[in-house]
Amino acid sequence: MAPPAASQRYPSPSQPSGKSEVSDLKTQLRQLAGSRAPGVDDSKRDLYKKVISYMTIGIDVSSVFGEMVMCSATSDIVLKKMCYLYVGNYAKGNPDLSLLTINFLQRDCKDEDPMIRGLALRSLCSLRVPNLVEYLVGPLGSGLKDNNSYVRTIAVTGVLKLYHISDSTCIDADFPATLKSLMLHDSDAQVVANCLSALQEIWSLEASHSEEACREKESLLSKPVIYYFLNRIKEFSEWAQCLILELAVKYVPSDSNDIFDIMNLLEDRLQHANGAVVLATVKVFLQLTLSMTDIHQQVYERIKSPLLTLVSSGSPEQSYAILSHLHLLVVRAPFIFAADYKHFYCQYNEPSYVKKLKLEMLTAVANESNTYEIVTELCEYAANVDIAIARESIRAVGKIALQQYDVNAIVDRLLQFLEMEKDYVTAETLVLVKDLLRKYPQWSHDCISVVGGISSKNIQEPKAKAALIWMLGEYAQDMSDAPYVLENLIENWEEEHSAEVRLHLLTAAMKCFFKRAPETQKALGTALAAGIADFHQDVHDRALFYYRVLQYDVHVAERVVSPPKQAVSVFADTQSSEIKDRIFDEFNSLSVIYQKPSYMFTDKEHRGPFEFSDELGNIPITPEASSDIVPAQQYEANDKDLLLSIDEKDDNKGLSNNNGSAYTAPSLESSSNITSQMQELAISGPAISAVTPQTSFGFDDLLGLGLSTAPAPTPSPPLLKLNPRAALDPGAFQQKWRQLPLSLTQECSVNPQGIAALTVPQSLIRHMQSHSIHCIASGGQSPNFKFFFFAQKESEPSNYLAECIINTSSAKAQIKVKADEQSTSQAFATIFETALSKFGMP
């Protein structure tokens, strides 16, 4: 056990000075050590408590170590626990004591009481003394086999602790293999869950130098393992459920039925009161449906209500975590939330970090139908006592104005803000009016007449001042006193602390001069003189530049400084879509809270399970790959046996009927049929040849592929139909890749939608799978991704292998194809390219 609070900053006055009290304790403990008198345990407890409370407040009580150990030869578990706490604290710093401790704990690991066995084992593994690890192996080994589940859960975590103290000892003892077998067979859910956490951690760390570990890590994502966990998810604690759901996110489903099976199985997790479970489920749903636009949208509709309920039911902190995720979804798909805008109204007592998120959400969902109400609401906040929020609200109004086509009403509101005569409101509004004019110059008359009425003396904030000065320069001809206001400001050059404002003054004086030279000449001269003498480098340089260019030719100067302006159509977004997609892929992690992808705030080793490993691309291709790996494809045939059918699980019976309309409305079941048909079509589409029997005639005619035309003379690429359930194990793939000659190499471009969708390899893998082209290995990170795919002929076991390297920045894909049957490799390449060209398309 680690030490509790090692020191306390404000010791109470009654705190003992140390020495004499400790030696008192020592004597008292010694007296009790051998005693068997009734009630002796109670006296021991009191003494132990004293020792521990001294320890907690930072008094050294290591000198009573021997007595503590002697006294703990007892069956009183409270005493034992306190003793473990004590020895855990002192063993590390004191080698002599550690050996003593280990003996004592090893003995307790064989106690007949499972509680004591477990506790002793936990303490033993928590000592973190590297040179004594050999003593851990024995007790851990028996702990893993213990018939009590409490001891086993502790032993499993103990293995992980051992790994962190000495990885070689842990691996040499073959503990990971033992954990794997426990994970798949133990009857206790917590033991299983701990095995999963421990193995994920161990294998992830080992994967950097061991291919076997890498394969083991991958095998956790195989279909049998995933279904083993998902089928019994309700047996696990809510925390372990989160663990399993996080694992399931990384699973690549074999087909759309697989996807719907998983979604139906997890559907009721969305009603869980624990927000972490709900968010983890939402992530699974979102990731699974990435390549199925319709269903993906249905998922958004489905998860809206549960997320809103969570936002309003927890503590403000929990609400914040959920709301951050909702924020992400709202910004991604504003139209889905457009009718729910009232949920994002701020409540007066909410913390400002919540209000800020809500304001951004209101901005995002504003559209033609709700803008009026949203802006009205935002205007209420502009008068808010919380100035930071008032400012944000005004900015939100401005942003809405910039994203709307019909801005009439909003401009009026903005101008009303100026009439409120609150300094910060005026300041924020000026900045907005400036941006608005850059986008909608046609509003200049209305705006300028109001802005002209503002006294520059009342504006102190540099940003606002700069905005006002910009408008004075830009609209000098419409504001009668513009030159004089500028002159006034220039006269106070020395008092102007912001370089930004001084820069704007120079430019505005120039612009004003071109429009109203006689009135401005003097002021411009003063400004240039002051600017050239300015200590700020930029101000100095700009003044000098203006001066020289004026000297050279006034007309050239005008063309440089005040050319006719084009209205800004779209202001640059602060975040690239690539970064946004990256954050979306890291849903249910801190990336969403910080609004940054994990690589921006965490070092590599701590990115957690959200990062898809980039070294995995090379692994199965290396010659050493052994044959005992479990490739997912082998199990395809048994799909149905793996997943308990919904009817068998009584917990699930209520899925569609237990909760009233909310739960039946967006039925994933019914849609699944449609999409699987769509899926079939998509598969047979590029293969051109035969039309699947399910397809209706109407559809065929639409495509001009009526059944009658099927036997007609074939088009130039030879007919090729791929088997959607192809299977090839990595070993065989590797062998073939080495043996077969290269049939052809092609380069093609990837469409922009495809590039946008390719933030992680998984998205393409799922897409290609829907075209019966299966991935066997993938890796890489933006901008370079590398994939190995394979496919099989529908009718015969003839294989196609392909290596595909995609560079997202150049939007090019390089494809290398090898085939059992050389003659058809071109046909395959065509299918491959067609499939790739559809990636990212709705």
Partner: protein, 451 residues
Amino acid sequence: MMISQFFVLSQRGDNIVFRDYRAEVPKGSTETFFRKVKFWKEDGNSEAPPIFNVDGVNYFHVKVVGLYFVATTRVNVSPSLVLELLQRIARVIKDYLGVLNEDSFRKNFVLVYELLDEVIDFGYVQTTSTEVLKSYIFNEPIVVAPARLQPIDPAAIFTQGAKRMPGTAVTKSVVANDPGGRRREEIFVDIIEKISVTFSSSGYILTSEIDGTIQMKSYLSGNPEIRLALNEDLNIGRGGRSVYDYRSSSGSGVILDDCNFHESVRLDSFDSDRTLSLVPPDGEFPVMNYRMTQEFKPPFHVNTLIEEAGRLKAEVIIKIRAEFPSDIIANTITVQMPLPNYTSRASFELELGAAGQRTDFKESSKMLEWNLKKIVGGAEHTLRAKLTFSQEFHGNITKEAGPVSMTFTIPMYNVSKLQVKYLQIAKKSSSYNPYRWVRYVTQANSYVARI
């Protein structure tokens, strides 16, 4: 999915509990955390968000009864998971100690460490179920008397002088025995509704929402199964309609927008007879959370008038009317209104014979505050305030003041009309008849009237 450290700090930043599970966060994290929270000034916010990152370490915190419950980690974990966990740890500790405060922590720190060791091992959550923990925990709590009302717990309002309620329940440890050694067989079901209403300046309802929880705390021995029957006309989901559609809903049923349930709840017959069945675990837990935007009658009507009365003067009149039956009494009512920031003085005038009312003008925040001990259903109360300004105002005075906000608690009343029709406990014997307490309470979450 693991955390590195867990600690609890007092409001002053003292370490009350500290546990390092993974030894991967440098020393001094408690100081770093406290400094950051205390002096937060970033992106215009003055309040530290519950999650932030300092030098690669992520700090999570929740505030419970003024204490900071903090977790740290270097890993990119699920934020909800950690915050939920912190909240749950606070609840487990409260289940054991009965009362959650600095004093009870210090008196029971050995027990708290014992709990923490079973809740988290090497940073991974093992269990947060009070029920499961019971078999691993051996220290007995040293019970601390609740010093004063705990604002954290909505159910705590039942401890105040209500005759029908056994006030001890909310501060009773799940493991400690009553004096006399025998545990009383009893179960508490609280229907707690927090309401949010925003009235427009003309008195219309702009938005309204009810966030409800059915909370349970069981002291029954032998874990009997319980059946909880709700209104038969209860509906969930509002079909295809927008949730803010205020057209009068057909029928008089209770319509929830959405709800979620505790793990232990089984919904086998929920569809047919609106009955929840469960074997309640020990400790306090929410059986069901629900959200409702169906129209309801707001318990208070607020009418505010602000009028200029000369160059440097104005008068504010606030009227509140209780719109609930006269056998119901609301308590601890606070009415607040921000006044123009050039207000220098406010003098108040209460109605004749007003008792249990207090008024205040908070100079620094320019806030008018009106406290009422209780309001009986149907009653109306008025406050008049004469304001003196330090400068002449210009423009519209109503834009400089307000909105009026209210907080209150109304025991034995719920606006949603959601009801627990009966609470059935599987019988062990004919003489087994434990105490059952079903209690309702309505509280203001955000109750705002614009002027």
